[in-house]
C-alpha cells in the first residue's frame, strides 16, 4: 500500500495505539471521580496537558482539549463571537478556509454578524496588507489558516500576528490542523490568541483535538455542563485519546527534527516526476507551500474520481481536493479562489505526505498514475 492521503487522516503510530489501549483498559476512571481510579485518570490528563504545552512552548492552562479540529474551530469562532458580540460583530477570514471555519462563519452571518472573506492570489495566499485594509473598529476576530488543506499554501501568519499586535481588541485565530509537525510556527512570536490542532493529522487518533487559548482570552463555551476543561468545554474527558495524542505529538515532532529535510526531498522528487507528465498541471505554489501537500489537476476533462478509484486498484491512495468535500461533486474552493478556472478546479487531485512516505514509493506510484491517465484518456476520447 502506498498511502498518499495524510492530510485527510494519518495512520496512527503503533505506540500511540498501545497507549490508547492501556489507558482505556487500565485507567478508565472518570477524571472527576474522587477515588483512586479517578485520580489516576486526572493525573494522566494533567500530564498530557503539560507535555503538549511544553511541546508547543505555551502554558498548560492554555491548552483546552476538544473532540477534534472541527469542534476546536467552531469553539474558537463562535466562542469569540458570543463572548465579544457587544464589542463588535465583524469577522475577517479567508476564501480558502476549511469548512469547519467557513461554515460557522456563515452560521454567524445568519445571526447578524458580518464576515469578510479575503480573496487569495494565484499562489493561494492572503497578505497582511489585505487584513489591514479589511480591519474595522468593530472587528472582533481574524481567522486565518496556517497551511491550506487543499494546495498546501502557507499563509503569512506571523505577519498578520504582527499587524494585529496593534489591534488589541481583535482576536487572532489560526487553524493549524495541517501545519502542526510539518511547518514550524512559534505561537507566541506570531501573537496567536487561539490555535486549532487535531490528533489524527499527526498520527494520533480521531476524537481528540486541541484549542490553544492564550491566557487572557475569554471564550463563551459551546458545550455547557459539568465544567470540565477549566469550565470551557464540558463533557467527560476522552483521556485515552488525549494521552495518545500527547504521545503522537511528541513522536511527530521528533520525526520533524530528524526527517524534515527528507520530506522536502520527497516532495521535490514528486514535483519533478509530476511536472514531466503532460496531462498534469501542478497547482501547489512553488514557494511558501508546505512540505507535504501537492495538488495538481488532470487535463482534458479527465474525471478525478475515476482517477482516484483507478489508483486505489493498485493500493495507492490519493484524494480529490480535501477529503471532507470530496464526496460532494464540486470544484475545489481553494483552486477556484486561486483563479485557475472552473475546469481545472474540478479536476484537482491531492497527494499528501507524512514522514512515513519514501522516495522509493515514487516510481511505483508514478507508473500507476501514468497507466491510469492512459486508461482515462481512452474513455474521454
Amino acid at each position: 500500500m502506498i498511502y498518499l492521503d495524510n492530510s485527510a487522516t494519518t495512520k496512527p503510530f503503533p505506540e500511540v495505539i498501545d497507549s490508547f489501549v492501556t489507558v482505556a483498559t487500565k485507567y478508565f476512571g472518570n477524571p472527576s471521580s474522587l477515588h483512586e481510579l479517578g485520580m489516576k485518570s486526572e493525573r494522566l490528563l494533567t500530564q498530557a496537558r503539560e507535555q503538549i504545552a511544553a511541546a508547543l512552548k505555551v502554558k498548560p492552562s492554555e491548552i483546552v482539549f476538544t473532540s477534534g479540529g472541527t469542534e476546536a474551530n467552531n469553539f474558537a469562532i463562535k466562542g469569540v463571537a458570543f463572548q465579544y458580540r457587544h464589542r463588535g460583530k465583524h469577522i475577517i477570514t479567508t476564501a480558502i478556509e476549511h469548512p469547519s471555519v467557513s461554515e460557522p462563519c456563515q452560521q454567524l452571518e445568519q445571526l447578524g454578524f458580518e464576515v469578510t472573506y479575503l480573496p487569495v492570489n494565484e499562489h493561494g495566499m492572503v497578505t497582511a496588507e489585505q487584513v489591514k485594509k479589511a480591519l474595522r473598529e468593530d472587528t472582533i476576530l481574524v481567522s486565518v489558516m496556517h497551511v491550506n488543506n487543499e494546495v498546501g499554501a502557507i499563509q503569512p501568519v506571523e505577519e498578520i500576528g504582527a499587524l494585529l499586535a496593534h489591534y488589541p481588541k481583535t482576536i487572532f485565530h489560526v487553524d493549524r490542523v495541517q501545519g502542526i509537525s510539518k511547518v514550524p510556527l512559534d505561537m507566541k512570536k506570531a501573537r496567536i490568541d487561539l490555535c486549532t490542532m487535531s490528533a489524527h493529522k499527526f498520527h494520533g487518533l480521531r476524537g481528540a483535538g486541541i484549542l490553544y487559548v492564550r491566557q487572557g482570552i475569554r471564550l463563551s463555551p459551546l458545550l455547557a455542563g459539568g465544567g470540565q476543561e477549566m469550565q470551557l468545554r464540558s463533557g467527560t474527558e476522552n483521556v485515552p485519546a488525549i494521552v495518545a495524542m500527547a504521545k503522537a505529538l511528541r513522536i511527530a515532532l521528533e520525526k520533524y527534527d530528524k526527517q524534515i529535510d527528507y520530506l522536502h526531498e520527497v516532495k521535490q522528487a514528486w514535483l519533478n516526476e509530476l511536472k514531466a507528465i503532460p496531462e498534469i498541471q501542478i497547482n501547489t505554489p512553488v514557494e511558501h507551500s508546505a512540505p507535504h501537500i501537492i495538488n495538481f489537476s488532470l487535463k482534458h476533462g479527465m474525471k478525478p474520481e475515476v482517477f482516484v478509484h483507478e489508483l486505489a486498484k493498485s493500493d495507492i491512495f490519493v484524494s480529490t481536493t480535501s477529503a471532507c468535500s470530496s464526496k460532494k461533486k464540486a470544484p475545489s474552493k481553494t483552486l477556484l479562489a486561486m483563479g485557475v478556472g472552473e475546469e481545472r478546479a474540478e479536476s484537482g487531485i491531492r497527494i499528501s505526505l507524512s514522514f512515513e512516505n519514501t522516495l522509493e514509493e515514487i516510481p511505483i506510484a508514478v507508473a500507476a498514475m501514468k497507466k491510469a491517465i492512459e486508461k482515462l484518456s481512452e474513455v474521454t476520447r
Binding site: 497507549s19 485520580m39 489516576k40 493525573r43 500530564q47 494521552v243 504521545k247 511528541r250
Partner: protein, 401 residues
C-alpha cells in the same frame, strides 16, 4: 554576527568580602544545574561577573531559565570582540541591528576598564555612536532617556557589547545561607514562604502532614506538585511526608475542642523540629502571617513556639493576603494551592478555636495525654521523596507518553 554569550551581574553578594568566592561558586553550580539540558554552553566566572558562552545553544530558553536563579541581579545578551576600534564598531552595530530599533532612540555608554586601550570612553562613545547612526535608518540619539543603551566595555580580555538588561530574580544563591525545614500544608501561604526563604539563599526541605483517610491521595499529590514548582527555584528538594492521623486523633480525643488546634500545631512543630535535627538543618520556615487565622495570633504563636528554641522564620509575617497571593501567582503555585482538597489543617478544625490560648492550660491538657510514642512513630514512618524539576510521581505512566 550574533549574540554569543550572556553576561550575568551578581546580586547582593557583591557586598560580601573574603567569602565571596563561596557565593560565586555556588551560583555557578546552580546556574549549570539549571541549564543542564544545554550541553554545549560553557560557564566562565570571575569575582564580579559570570559569562555563559552559548556555543550555538539558543538564547531565548536560557534567558527564561536564568530568570529563576537566585543571586542574579541582572543579565544581558552580549557579544565579544577584540580590543580593536573597527571591530568594536562593527560589533556594536550588529548588536543594535538584532533589536527592533526602527523609530527608537539610543546612546552609547562606553567604559574603558583596560586603560592601555588608546581611546578614552568619550571618544569611544562618539566614534561608535556615529558609526551606528551612519549605518542605520530610523534610529536617533537621545543621551538622557534612550530606548536602547549600547553598553561597551573594553576589558583586558576583550570588549563586550550589550544592549538590554534583563532583571534577574535577585536574592542570594540557594544553599549559601544553610538549610531549613519548610512546613508545607498545601495552602497558598507556605509555598510562598518557601520561595522567599530560598530567595535569601536557604536550601529547604519540605515537611507535610498527611492524615489518611481524612485527607486524600489528591492532597498529597497537590503537595508534590507544589514542591515541584518550588524546584524551579531551588533545584532538588526533599519532601518529608509525615503520617499524622494517629497523633491528630489522639489530640482530638483527649484535648478540649478549643485547644485541640493549638496542641496539634505544637505536635507538628515538635515533629518538624525532630526531622530538622535528623536532617541537620538550622531553622524552620512557616507560612504564618500575623493574625491571619486563630493559630497565627501572637498569643497562639507564643504558645506553639514554646516547644522549641529553633529559630522559626516567618517570611510572610507582615504581609497581607493579597500580597501573598500576588507572589503565589508569580511563582505559579496559586492555581495548585486553590484546588479544593482537604488537608490536615482543615479537617479537624474546631468550631471556635481559642485565639488567645494560655500556655498553662495547654500544658495541663497535654499532661493528660502521652503523645510522645505516637510522635516518635510518626517520625519513624515518615516517607521522604526527592523531587526535582523533571519529577514524575507516577512512573507507571512513563511508557504511555
Amino acid at each position: 554576527m550574533k549574540y554569543d554569550r550572556i553576561l550575568i551581574r551578581y546580586g547582593e553578594m557583591t557586598t560580601k568580602g573574603r567569602n565571596r568566592n563561596v557565593f560565586v561558586r555556588r551560583l555557578k553550580n546552580n546556574v549549570s544545574k539549571k541549564l543542564h539540558m544545554f550541553p554545549n554552553i560553557q560557564i566562565e566566572y570571575m569575582r564580579d561577573r559570570m559569562y555563559i558562552l552559548l556555543n550555538g545553544e539558543p538564547h531565548e530558553p536560557i534567558i527564561e531559565k536564568l530568570k529563576t536563579v537566585f543571586g542574579i541581579h541582572s543579565f544581558s545578551l552580549a557579544m565579544k570582540c577584540h580590543n580593536e576600534l573597527n571591530e568594536i564598531k562593527e560589533t556594536a552595530l550588529a548588536a543594535v541591528k538584532q533589536l527592533p530599533y526602527e523609530g527608537k532612540t539610543f546612546k552609547v555608554s562606553a567604559r574603558r576598564v583596560d586603560k592601555r586601550f588608546p581611546y578614552g570612553s568619550d571618544e569611544l562613545n562618539h566614534e561608535i555612536g556615529a558609526y551606528i547612526l551612519r549605518n542605520t535608518d530610523g534610529l536617533t540619539v537621545d543621551v538622557h532617556d534612550p530606548d536602547i543603551n549600547v553598553r561597551v566595555e573594553v576589558r583586558q580580555d576583550g570588549t563586550y557589547v550589550t544592549c538590554r538588561d534583563i532583571f534577574g530574580a535577585g536574592g542570594l544563591p540557594v544553599g549559601t545561607s544553610g538549610k531549613a525545614m519548610l512546613m508545607l500544608s498545601g495552602g497558598i501561604d507556605s509555598p510562598v514562604a518557601g520561595y522567599l526563604a530560598m530567595k535569601r539563599g536557604l536550601e529547604i526541605e519540605a515537611v507535610h502532614f498527611f492524615s489518611p483517610p481524612f485527607t486524600s491521595e489528591r492532597a498529597k499529590q497537590k503537595v508534590i506538585d507544589l514542591v515541584k514548582k518550588l524546584t524551579t527555584y531551588g533545584g532538588k528538594i526533599k519532601l518529608h511526608i509525615v503520617p499524622f492521623t494517629e497523633v491528630q486523633q489522639e489530640i482530638y480525643k483527649q484535648v478540649p475542642d478549643e485547644y485541640s488546634l493549638i496542641s496539634t500545631r505544637r505536635a507538628m512543630l515538635k515533629i518538624t523540629d525532630a526531622l530538622r535535627r535528623r536532617q541537620r538543618a538550622l531553622a524552620i520556615v512557616t507560612g504564618e502571617s500575623l493574625g491571619q487565622v486563630a493559630s497565627q495570633t501572637l498569643e497562639s504563636m507564643f504558645v506553639i513556639n514554646e516547644v522549641t528554641t529553633t529559630p522559626i522564620l516567618r517570611p510572610l509575617v507582615s504581609m497581607d493576603k493579597v500580597e501573598i497571593i500576588e507572589i503565589a501567582k508569580k511563582i505559579d503555585t496559586h492555581d495548585i494551592s486553590i484546588l479544593p482538597y482537604e488537608d490536615c489543617c482543615t479537617i479537624f478544625t474546631p468550631k471556635s478555636p481559642k485565639t488567645k490560648p494560655k500556655k498553662e492550660k495547654v500544658l495541663r491538657y497535654e499532661s493528660a495525654v502521652d503523645l510522645d510514642p505516637l510522635i516518635e512513630k510518626a517520625i519513624a514512618n515518615t516517607e521522604t521523596i526527592v523531587i526535582d524539576e523533571d519529577f514524575e510521581a507516577e512512573d507507571e505512566f512513563e511508557q504511555l507518553f
